[in-house]
Subunit: 317 residues, 2 copies
Amino acid sequence: VIVGPGDDAAVLRPTTGMDLVLTTDALIENRHFRRDWCRTRARSLELARAVGARLAAANLSDLAAMAARPRWAVISIGATGRDTEWLAEVQRGVAETLERDGAALVGGNLGRAEAGEWYSLTLAGEVEPGRAWTRGGARPGDLLAVTGFFGRAATFGRRARAYWSGRRLPEWTRAFAERWRNPPSRIAAARAMAESGAVTAAIDVSDGLAGDLAHLCEASGVGAEIDASSKPADGLEEEFPRVSDERRFGSSDDYELLLAVDPNHRAACESAAAGAGAPLAFIGRVTAEGRRMLGLRGEDGRVVALPGRGYDHFARR
Amino acid sequence: VIVGPGDDAAVLRPTTGMDLVLTTDALIENRHFRRDWCRTRARSLELARAVGARLAAANLSDLAAMAARPRWAVISIGATGRDTEWLAEVQRGVAETLERDGAALVGGNLGRAEAGEWYSLTLAGEVEPGRAWTRGGARPGDLLAVTGFFGRAATFGRRARAYWSGRRLPEWTRAFAERWRNPPSRIAAARAMAESGAVTAAIDVSDGLAGDLAHLCEASGVGAEIDASSKPADGLEEEFPRVSDERRFGSSDDYELLLAVDPNHRAACESAAAGAGAPLAFIGRVTAEGRRMLGLRGEDGRVVALPGRGYDHFARR
């Protein structure tokens, strides 16, 4: 960082020979979180920190899906009032989450929102030329793998008000809450798996498995089949039955990766992920059955249409 | 652009040896513009295009203030509905304005805003290492210069509803409206002036001359004096009396540059700006009278406090 926050723009020194990767993602009040969940000021500031952590995680997840190394971010805020303490906590949540992956918050902009605060983060990273993952490289026969597992954020979401207002909740809710407040970063795992050369396509699953699998298949011109019996491999297996199929495959905010993996390099991919401390579960395979053909294979071998669909920001609910 | 819109992030190829410059700025409905200004659909889509142009201009102005060359941008949108035609026009306004300076819109994110749409753009550019302008280099004795002139956007703002609703207005309003709809870019002039080596400090005046001059003086540890008799040099001199001192020095959205210029290199600076087609008016000088000492020098030599202050997003109006 040559010139940091406080000037018209930040000036940064890139690594020679690396490509630049840019992404942007936003969290919006009353869509991604509600301030009225909290009954105390202390709890509210914890929520602010979590909002910042999730905003950073959403952007980190995009960079992980490109196998990029995060470097610098700028934040744009639409605030509804002068709650500087809340805004400082959001930014602290962003900054400390970025820092864990070696990235820095280097600038920002503050405007006044009419209703519903919003926080938009743009994250810049670097990747070796020609080494960025895309959505378009999956081939029939590739395996499908996921880091973590999906549907927990949406499952927690139904109990978020109870959690943030401080009510007693069963233990599993707290485990899900912990993930919601601090989504694990998949950057290190992505960088390690990229070195293994095993991954043929990748996408960040921020809108739900079925929807984002469809995006990957469309970009690659392939179909896919998920095994109904596939299970998470991330230490929360016992809580798995809490997650309905609708949430497992449908809209959820889990910030995990979906990968197409060359079956000849499965072992290298698994050991790279394990070395980086990331769970990796193989959940299905890429098929040649044409675009948008997404199936769910039961233990009896029968294949039905995959339930769930991507998050539609403008659907009436 | 190695990977453009449609993947998890954009992948870009930087110029070897250049530093990276990052900025972000947002436009917010009912703050920076009102959709209900317009009475017809056609007019409304023209406004959308202008909103996009102004969003790009706000960010380009930040990069001009660093003497950087714009390259790539990502947009984050909070939309209140499914008006895809309006959103497409906003993005077209952004893209075509960026393109005129050689930059490209390479990705984005769309979320749902509760009330008041917002458009946040992050612009990345490049600058030769060690050559970025900052706010902090002004020295006593330097001259103060501005590209364009200030207060017109705010002066037009009072007539914006009449203009966009299609009412007949005096000619000067249309001249101001043209600037509002398509703020001139100062990128080429900034790059040329940077080569002249004449500029010691720079700031983008997006919040009003008095406020941003104060920022520059604070960063440089100096004072400043503006000549009350200074006039614009940009072809709209005749309309100058329409602009009150309050708007000339106070909050306005003109996206112009304020520069501190080494008096020994004034001629080089002037010819660089002229060569790039940018007006440049010398309006005062940097003083050693301590921080935040901002004066207005009358033709009789008397100095009074500079009127106007920076835009406060959270002031009650």
